[in-house]
């Protein structure tokens, strides 16, 4: 495996902050090189330097195949053979697969018009090397998340990239799609392409990586062949503190009092690409943490969206033994339900608003018995939550767009907890946040359950579901496939129920 990209003593300083401090990184052709580190460790800054988005401070050196080089911008980086696939895919949904692959470098005829035939032919060739069964003329909007990611990879290959950087590539993939992606990555490795793989999921590092470089506080902590690392070592190097267990000890607080009773819940008029959720029956008990597991597309989120009044449904929902009618989220909220949605930026937060305004949005009436909002009371309550949940923010007036993912997530949780709902639904509560914050979110959920709240946790992270849940309901193809008591639940049994 030959050395392709070398970074030596690379630093990056922003006004007032040193984001990277003399980082070393070596990426070889034909290797999968994982980049591990908590949020804020410097992974994204390093990535942006590799792709020419940022320029490194003078003093460090970047070498490609031994030649010192200055990466001017993203176009230059691509010409040098470095491509990146961002976590949030950048595709033009209404254009076809081929049009996306050749965006901004469309082949032209001598006349100056588009050479569509050539574009589709070349796209088909690239897709064939990935063994992808997708037509070049399919609009991207019709593809699944996993397929879209493959198209991004196809695009990177068509640029003749030597190195492809992947930022949390499995974050929005189903289990099946993730498996396909891993296969694809192995194939790229065989073709001699170097992969820089960034993920929060440690399992994936051990599954796919040949080498791992660990960043902490903007510095390289270590760079090791994967065979020399264990999970414990990796975590310790990342966080620099002992996490005796990633997940704390489990205590069950469930009572026998039924809080939420759902019967025959069926999705009304599902859209073409949606799971046809049918006849969902389940109960949630006071103080219980109920896990919902299923592959992406199985219908977990749809079930919660029906309960929260975001989607039309038939069937009955009873809270505290009384049947309730929920047509709108505001109805669900009035009946004591809170919903920490999966998509923080799209559904959870008003990014342009500050911490205080986001926090109070769910329960503004608590500070405004009449028409006017009592700003003092609002700020004081918000400060209490910022303190008790350990939200790192300069003040309650900071705009949430400037906070890290973990802190944003805590604000979304805080805005619901402050309402004291009877039932709290949390969808992928720890996606994209680092290990430390994850443990804090889990501890918080356990604390809320011990106070008598009923909590529903949806997660694609199987170890997380197992760690936090008192019971686990497995959803498959829009129906409940099986329900497990904690004692019977294991990774194997649950996966079996979700896929069989």
């Amino acid at each position: 495996m030959s050395l392709f990209l070398e970074m030596r003593d690379v630093s990056k300083t922003f006004p007032g902050v040193r984001a990277l401090n003399k980082v070393d990184l070596e990426v070889r052709l034909g290797e999968v090189h994982a980049l591990a580190g908590e949020n804020g460790a410097g992974k994204s800054t390093l990535m942006k330097i590799m792709t020419g988005v940022y320029t490194a401070d003078p003093g460090g050196r970047i070498l490609i195949e031994g030649e010192p080089i200055v990466i001017r911008d993203a176009v230059h980086a691509r010409a040098l053979g470095i491509s990146i696939i961002y976590q949030e895919l950048s595709m033009v949904e209404n254009l076809t697969v081929a049009e996306n692959i050749f965006l901004a470098r469309e082949p032209l005829r001598a006349s100056g018009f588009l050479d569509k035939a050539r574009m589709n032919r070349e796209a088909a060739e690239v897709l064939a090397t990935l063994q992808m069964d997708v037509s070049p003329v399919t609009p991207v909007a019709q593809l699944s998340m996993g397929q879209k990611q493959m198209i991004e990879i196809a695009k990177a290959i068509s640029y003749r990239s030597k190195i492809i950087i992947m930022d949390e590539p499995t974050a929005s993939l189903s289990h099946h799609e993730a498996v396909t992606l891993m296969g694809q990555i192995r194939r790229l490795r065989q073709q001699g392409i170097g992969i820089v793989y960034i993920t929060h999921r440690l399992d994936e590092i051990f599954e796919i990586a040949d080498r791992v470089t660990i960043l902490r506080d903007g510095s390289t902590v270590d760079s090791l062949p994967i065979a020399e690392v264990t999970r414990d070592i990796l975590v310790r190097k990342m966080v620099d503190r002992e996490l005796s267990q990633l997940y704390g000890k489990h205590v069950c607080h469930a009572t026998s009092e039924v809080l939420l009773d759902v019967k025959g819940l069926t999705l009304d008029q599902p859209r073409p690409h949606q799971a046809k959720v049918k006849n969902i029956d389940f109960s949630l008990y006071r103080g219980e943490v109920l896990g919902f597991f299923g592959l992406i597309g199985a219908g977990r989120t749809e079930i919660m969206e029906m309960i929260f009044g975001m989607r039309a449904s038939t069937g009955t929902i009873a809270i505290d033994g009384r049947q309730v009618a929920i047509h709108e989220p505001s109805d669900a909220i009035a009946h004591g339900i809170g919903f920490v949605t999966e998509d923080r930026k799209g559904q959870g937060l008003v990014l342009g608003m500050n911490v205080r305004e986001n926090f109070s949005l769910t329960h503004l009436e608590a500070y405004s018995p009449n028409f006017f909002v009592n700003r003092q009371k609002e700020t004081a309550r918000c400060r209490d939550f910022v303190k008790s949940l350990g939200i790192k923010t300069p003040s309650t007036e900071q705009r949430v767009v400037n906070l890290s993912g973990g802190n944003q997530q805590k604000i979304v949780i805080a805005k619901w907890v402050a309402r004291s709902p009877k039932i709290l639904i949390v969808d992928e509560p720890t996606r994209g946040i680092d290990i430390g914050a994850k443990a804090e979110v889990h501890a918080l959920l356990a604390r809320l359950a011990s106070d008598g709240m009923g909590i529903i946790v949806i997660s694609s992270d199987l170890p997380e579901v197992l760690a936090v849940s008192d019971r686990v309901i497995v959803i498959k193809d829009g129906r409940i496939s099986q329900t497990f008591e904690r004692a019977q639940a294991s990774q194997e049994t649950i996966m079996e129920a979700a896929t069989a």
Partner: protein, 335 residues
């Protein structure tokens, strides 16, 4: 969890000295850009002509932009929700016509005024229902209302202005003074204060900003976003109706072309004042300052003997400069 300063938070962190804190707080005020622009323009004009800074002239200027300013209050609320109301010019005209029709039929003044306000409110309700129930895009819905409103005016008047007899007391609304200050300016100031407080200090105001900032997040937090939008369009209509009454009282003639094209001036005022057409951002005060800037430029052009035909181009240039500065500044803040 371990959190380090991201570059953005480090830059944004307020300085912790008393004076520094106050200065940086002041600089956070979005309206400052346009206020600065306003002061610069005022200084320029008053240096080049002695007639500008006279009470008579100033009060005249204030009165002339007050109608646009009043309507910009409704408009900026609509824009903050992420919408637009193109119908305000027509609604203003139709409201003044309905008021005039009332006087022509010999109805009492109060009834005539209520008729004008009701016209505005109904149009706002119509817009709001099209947008929240039928889910038309605001641009299309209010474009339709613009045409319907204007069309109704031509149908009713056959193109001939209506000049009914009115009691003297009614004329006070558009022509009278409180001390040195024209009544329309007093109405504008009063409404500015009321709606500024509504937008800053009330639950409704917060919901307006949240709806425009991220409608989905607001709805999922329990904000009845449909109702919020319905209300802002009703308010915009009602306020345009009020502007129509003031306008009729001022000229005592309901012209079929009254308010024609006014929506563009009103939208410009809101945009100059820092409102983002993407929603979530803007303020009542900003819109008023924006209207003042446009109005003062118009007056300055006349006083400085610049070709009046150039006035529109100058106003356009000022809009672009003011908004560009705003965009540039918010980007350099990294926000």
């Amino acid at each position: 969890m371990i959190v380090r300063d991201s570059p953005a938070t480090a830059v944004l962190r307020p300085r912790h000295t008393a004076v520094g804190g106050r200065v940086s707080a002041l600089l956070q005020v979005r309206e400052l850009n346009v206020l600065t622009a306003l002061l610069v323009v005022v200084a320029l004009i008053s240096f080049s002509t002695p007639y500008f800074l006279t009470t008579d002239n100033l009060m005249g200027v204030f009165r002339s932009f007050s109608l646009i300013a009043i309507m910009s209050i409704g408009m900026v609320m609509v824009i903050i929700t992420g919408g637009i109301d193109l119908s305000v010019g027509s609604v203003m005209g139709l409201s003044s016509l309905v008021t005039a029709l009332g006087f022509q039929s010999g109805l009492p003044t109060a009834v005539c005024i209520l008729g004008g306000l009701a016209t505005g409110l109904l149009f706002g309700l119509f817009n709001g229902v099209l947008i929240t129930v039928i889910r038309l895009p605001p641009f299309i819905a209010t474009l339709g209302s613009l045409s319907i409103g204007r069309g109704l005016m031509y149908i009713i008047t056959h193109g001939v202005p209506l000049t009914p007899d009115t009691p003297d007391v009614f004329a006070e609304i558009g022509q009278g003074y409180v001390g040195l200050v024209p009544v329309p300016v007093v109405i504008m100031l009063a409404m500015t204060i009321v709606f500024s407080v509504v937008m800053r200090k009330t639950r409704f105001g917060r919901h307006v900003y949240a709806t425009g900032g991220n409608e989905m997040a607001a709805r999922l937090s329990g904000v009845k976003t449909g109702r919020v939008k319905l209300l802002v369009y009703m308010l915009s209509g009602l306020i345009a109706g009020l502007a129509g009454i003031v306008s009729f009282s001022r000229y005592l003639s309901a012209e079929p072309a009254s308010g024609f094209g006014a929506e563009l001036d009103v939208i410009a005022a809101a945009a100059i004042g820092g409102a983002s057409l993407a929603g979530g951002v803007g303020s009542v005060e900003g819109a008023i300052i924006g209207a003042a800037l446009a109005g003062i430029i118009a007056n300055g052009v006349v006083l400085m003997n610049i070709n009046t035909y150039a006035q529109q181009a100058i106003t356009g240039a000022v809009i672009l400069i003011a908004v560009s500065l705003d965009v540039w500044r918010s980007r350099s803040k990294g926000a």
